[in-house]
C-alpha cells in the first residue's frame, strides 16, 4: 500500500519532469516553446546584424587601407624616380647624378627624421602651430586608427602616407639650387627645413588643433586637400629664397645651359602625373567616392595644364615643345592639388588651364625679367601654381563635391564668399613661414658648412666633385 503511493508519486514527478519535453516533441509551438524560440531568433538576429556591421567595417577598412598604402607607394614613386628624372634631365650632363642624389637623399634621410620626431610634430596634438611629442619615436602609432585623421585605417598607414609627402616637399626645393649646392649642406639644410617649415605648416593646416585646420579646430579654416599650401607653396617660395640667397650659376644667363636630356625629364614628368593620383586621390584617406572625385580632378587638371602651356608656347615660340607639354602637365597638377577633393571636374579643367598660362608666363617671361636663377623652375611651377591653386580652391570648392563644412557652403561658388579670404590667409602664412624659415636656416648653414661648392668644383660638375662618379661612362 505504501509502495503504491510512492510509485504513484514517482510517476507523477517523472511525468511532470519529462512531459514538457514530450509535448515539445509532439506539438511544437504549444505551451512555453513560442517564447523561447522568439528569444532565440531575436538573439540570432542581433548577432547577425552585429556580424554584418563588423564585416562591412572590415571590408571598408580593407579597401581604404589598400588604397592608402598603394597611394603611399605612388607618392614615393613621384620622388624616386619621378622627380629625380624630371630634374635630372633638365641639368647639364656633368650634374645629373648630383641632382638625382638630392631627391634620393630625402627618401632616406627624411624617413628617419619622420620616425624620430617628424610625424609627431605634424600630427600629434600640440598647439595651433606645432604638434607635440606624444608620437616621437612613433610611440602609439600602430594598428589602431586615429579617428582625428582616418577612422578606417591603421594610424601606421596614415603615418607612412604622410611620410611620402614630407619626403617630396624638400626634394622639390632642390630645383632652385641645382648644379651649385654642396651635398652636405643640402642634407643639413633640408632636414632643418623639414622640421622648422614643413612640420609647422603641415600641423597648422592638417594637424589636430592646427591654427588653419578647416575641420579640426582651426581659427582660420583653410582648405588644403592634398598639399597645395603645405607642399607646393612652402617648397616653391623657399626655392625662390634659395635661388636668391645662393646666387646664379656661373655663366648664367649668358652661357647656354640647355637640358642634357629632355628624354629623362619626359619620363620623370609622366611618372609624376601617374604618381599624383596617389598624392591627391590618396588624400581622401579612404577608397570611396571622394577618392574618385579627387582622382578625376587630378587627371583633368593635368590635361588642361598641358594643353594650356603648350598652346601659349606654340603661339609665342612657334612650336609646341615636349618639355613645355610635360611642364604644363606638372603645373596643372601642382595647381589642382589644393582643391582636388573639393572642386568638380569642370572646375578642375579651369584650374589646370589657368595653371598652364600662369606658370608658363612665370617661367618664360617673368623669371628673365627679374634675373634670378631658379634653375629648374621650382618657384615658377610650385610656388606660383600652389598659390594660384590655393586661391582658386576658395572660389571653386563646392559642397556637392565634398560637404566638408557639415553641409554648409564651402567655396565662393557655393555662396561662402569668405573662403577665398581664408585661403589668402593660408597663402600669406605659407609665404611668410617659407621666407623667414628658409632665410634663417640658409644663413646658419652657410655660416657653419658653407652652402655653395667652389667655383672650380662647379665648373667640373657635382657628379665628379661631390660624388666621385660620372653619370654616363660610354667608353666602358
Amino acid at each position: 500500500m505504501r509502495h503504491t503511493f510512492l510509485k504513484s508519486f514517482a510517476v507523477i514527478v517523472l511525468l511532470a519532469t519529462f512531459a514538457p519535453f514530450g509535448v515539445a516533441f509532439v506539438a511544437p509551438g504549444m505551451t512555453n516553446k513560442p517564447a523561447n524560440l522568439a528569444e532565440q531568433q531575436a538573439e540570432r538576429l542581433a548577432r547577425l546584424e552585429q556580424q554584418l556591421a563588423e564585416t562591412k567595417a572590415q571590408a571598408r577598412s580593407s579597401g581604404d587601407n589598400a588604397w592608402v598604402l598603394m597611394s603611399s607607394a605612388l607618392v614615393l614613386l613621384m620622388t624616386g624616380p619621378g622627380l629625380a628624372l624630371f630634374y635630372g634631365g633638365l641639368v647639364r650632363k656633368k650634374n645629373v647624378l648630383g641632382t638625382m642624389m638630392q631627391s634620393f637623399a630625402m627618401m632616406a634621410i627624411i624617413t628617419v627624421v619622420w620616425a624620430v620626431v617628424g610625424y609627431s610634430l605634424c600630427f600629434a596634438p600640440g598647439n595651433g602651430f606645432i604638434g607635440g611629442l606624444q608620437h616621437a619615436w612613433l610611440r602609439g602609432v600602430g594598428a589602431a586608427p586615429n579617428p582625428d585623421y582616418a577612422a578606417t585605417i591603421p594610424q601606421q598607414t596614415h603615418m607612412i602616407y604622410q611620410l611620402m609627402f614630407a619626403i617630396i616637399t624638400p626634394a622639390l626645393i632642390s630645383g632652385a639650387f641645382a648644379e651649385r649646392m654642396k651635398f652636405s649642406a643640402m642634407a643639413v639644410f633640408l632636414v632643418l627645413w623639414t622640421l622648422l617649415v614643413y612640420c609647422p605648416m603641415a600641423h597648422m593646416i592638417w594637424g589636430t588643433g592646427g591654427f588653419l585646420n578647416a575641420t579640426l579646430g582651426g581659427k582660420i579654416p583653410v582648405l588644403d586637400f592634398a598639399g597645395g599650401t603645405v607642399v607646393h607653396i612652402t617648397s616653391g617660395v623657399s626655392a625662390l629664397v634659395c635661388a636668391w640667397f645662393l646666387g646664379k650659376r656661373l655663366g648664367y644667363p649668358s652661357e647656354p645651359m640647355p637640358p642634357h636630356s629632355v628624354v629623362l625629364t619626359f619620363v620623370g614628368g609622366c611618372l609624376l602625373w601617374v604618381g599624383w593620383f596617389g598624392f591627391n586621390a590618396g588624400s581622401a584617406l579612404s577608397a570611396g567616392s571622394l577618392a574618385s572625385s579627387a582622382f578625376v580632378a587630378t587627371q583633368f587638371g593635368a590635361a588642361a595644364g598641358a594643353i594650356a602651356w603648350t598652346t601659349v608656347e606654340w603661339m609665342r615660340s612657334g612650336k609646341p615643345s615636349a618639355l613645355g607639354a610635360v611642364s604644363g602637365a606638372v603645373a596643372g597638377l601642382a595647381t589642382i592639388t589644393q582643391g582636388s577633393g573639393f572642386v568638380g571636374p569642370m572646375s578642375a579643367l579651369i584650374i589646370g588651364g589657368v595653371a598652364g598660362v600662369c606658370c608658363y608666363s612665370m617661367v618664360a617671361i617673368v623669371k628673365a625679367r627679374f634675373g634670378y636663377d631658379d634653375s629648374l623652375d621650382a618657384f615658377g611651377v610650385h610656388g606660383i601654381g600652389g598659390s594660384v591653386g590655393a586661391l582658386l580652391t576658395g572660389v571653386l570648392a563646392a559642397r556637392a563635391i565634398n560637404p566638408v563644412f557639415q553641409g554648409g557652403a564651402v567655396g565662393a561658388i557655393d555662396g561662402n564668399w569668405r573662403q577665398p579670404i581664408h585661403q589668402l590667409a593660408g597663402i600669406g602664412i605659407g609665404w611668410a613661414l617659407a621666407i623667414v624659415g628658409t632665410s634663417v636656416i640658409l644663413k646658419v648653414v652657410d655660416m657653419t658648412i658653407g652652402l655653395r661648392v667652389s667655383a672650380e668644383h662647379e665648373v667640373q660638375g657635382l657628379d665628379a666633385t661631390q660624388h666621385g662618379e660620372e653619370g654616363y661612362y660610354w667608353e666602358a
Binding site: 647656354p256 640647355p258 608656347e313 612650336k319 615643345s321 618639355l323 611642364s327 618664360a364 628673365a368
Partner: protein, 112 residues
C-alpha cells in the same frame, strides 16, 4: 701616303662609306662631331629660353691612302656627299710621314 679628311652631313655617311669601299679604300675612321662653316645654325627653345645652336652635327671620315688612290677617293666622296646646298662639307688632303702596322711592324704603304 696621304691623309684624306672629309667632313660631311651625317645622313650621307652610308652612301659615302659604300662608295669608298667600292673604290678600294680598305680602312677608315669615323667621328661624330659638331661644327659649322658658312651654314647658319638654328634656334632651340627650352622653357621659353632661346638657345642659338650654331654647332651642327656632322660626320668626319678620316683615311690614310696610298697616293695612287687619293684622287679616286676624293671623287667618290664628293659624288656621294654632294647635295648642292650650303652645309655639304669639305675634304682636306695632307701628307703623312709614316704608317706602322701594330700587329707585325710593317711600315710604309704596305701598312695601309
Amino acid at each position: 701616303m696621304t691623309k684624306v679628311e672629309a667632313i660631311i652631313q651625317p645622313q650621307k655617311l652610308e652612301a659615302v662609306k659604300a662608295a669608298l669601299v667600292e673604290a678600294g679604300v680598305s680602312g677608315m675612321s669615323v667621328f661624330e662631331i659638331r661644327g659649322h662653316g658658312k651654314q647658319k645654325g638654328h634656334t632651340e627653345i627650352y622653357r621659353g629660353r632661346e638657345y642659338n645652336v650654331d654647332l651642327l652635327p656632322k660626320v668626319k671620315i678620316e683615311m690614310v691612302l696610298p697616293d695612287n688612290l687619293v684622287q679616286r677617293a676624293i671623287q667618290v666622296i664628293v659624288g656621294a656627299a654632294r647635295t648642292g646646298k650650303i652645309g655639304d662639307g669639305k675634304v682636306f688632303v695632307s701628307k703623312v710621314d709614316e704608317a706602322i702596322r701594330i700587329r707585325n711592324d710593317e711600315r710604309g704603304e704596305i701598312a695601309l
